[in-house]
């Protein structure tokens, strides 16, 4: 893979971004002055962005330079996770609702 693409700069950028994206959700939950919906939104958004930050700066994945095989496997796993997790939660909540 891209063993040579890593640099000190990418690790440090990644670390700073990750710390910021960790502090935001912890801080908003701690001080908790927003509505529940907004808090959920902030937590979800920060988590998704932080996953991308880790993939980009720590695992060094980029759409341009990473091999096709790696990206295909990554996206395929993403699709499987979406179907299985989304499906599980959908079906079980629906079931729960109908059993009430």
């Amino acid at each position: 893979m891209q063993e040579h693409g890593h640099s000190l700069k990418s690790y440090i950028t990644g670390f700073i971004l990750a710390v910021i994206l960790t502090l935001i959700p912890f801080w908003v939950v701690w001080s908790s002055s927003f509505s529940a919906k907004l808090l959920f939104g902030i937590i979800t958004l920060c988590a998704l962005v932080q996953v991308l930050v880790h993939l980009r700066f720590f695992l060094n994945i980029s759409l341009k330079h990473t091999g096709k095989d790696y990206l295909t496997a990554l996206f395929f796993a993403g699709v499987l996770i979406f179907i299985m997790v989304g499906g599980t939660i959908w079906i079980l909540y629906d079931l729960n609702f109908r059993m009430m």
Binding site: M1, E3, H4, H6, S7, L8, Y11, I12, G14, F15, A18, V19, T22, P25, F26, V29, W30, S32, A36, L39, F40, I43, T44, C46, A47, Q50, V51, H54, L55, F58, L59, G67, D69, Y70, A73, L74, F76, A77, L80, I81, M84, V85, T88, I89, L92, Y93
Partner: protein
């Protein structure tokens, strides 16, 4: 005319590339395992069976320190890998040992949290919710522990074999594993711990 040495080197490089890809496929399957444990956790969320509720069990400050430990260890592993690329043996081993210290503090914090919960009567057998919680979080903790064994083994390999091509390639794959675990932890603190305090 290709010499035998060149042929061997070419073969070695190809073999190491294949291993990196194979390891990547393993990580993707591991991601699916974790995703399904998350799904189980979410569906079990309200099944506390008159047992303790999550909001009484978790300590946000504790989770925050665990998060920082894991994040710092991820970066120090990156530094160890960079040092290995630049063939700085001592600095590579040093960063690996620092990574080990942060990894160990993470596991110690997590185990102490588990023990505290079990002592309070909130063990995994108490309710469906707690079973799902312990399965998810402990699977991650187990992965981190295995990763730490890997770090110790790589430290020994670097010391005894030097920074040869196969050793660097193993260190790279272990790095993928270690960074991957940090990504899973983002999911854990965002899905398991933070929403409880809303």
């Amino acid at each position: 005319m290709i010499t035998v040495a060149e042929l061997i080197r070419e073969h070695e490089e190809e073999s190491l590339e294949n291993r990196a890809y194979g390891f990547w496929l393993y990580l993707m399957t591991d991601a699916i395992i974790f995703a399904l444990l998350f799904a189980t956790y979410v569906t079990m969320f309200s099944n506390t069976a008159q047992g303790p509720k999550p909001v009484d069990l978790f300590d946000l400050q504790h989770v925050f320190i665990e998060t920082l430990c894991l994040l710092i260890s991820s970066v120090t592993f990156g530094f160890a890998f960079l040092a290995s690329v630049q063939k700085k043996l001592a600095s590579s081993v040093g960063w690996l040992l620092i990574t080990l210290v942060f990894g160990l503090s993470f596991v110690v914090l997590e185990v102490s949290e588990f023990l505290e919960m079990i002592n309070e009567g909130a063990g995994p057998q108490k309710s469906g919710y707690l079973s799902a919680f312990f399965t998810l979080v402990a699977t991650h903790g187990l992965h981190v522990s295995v990763g730490m064994v890997g770090i110790m083994m790589m430290t020994c390999q670097i010391l005894f074999k030097g920074l040869t091509k196969p050793v660097c390639s193993r260190l790279f794959r272990l790095g993928l594993f270690w960074h991957f675990l940090d990504i899973v932890w983002i999911g854990i603190f965002s899905v398991v711990y933070l929403p409880v305090f809303i």
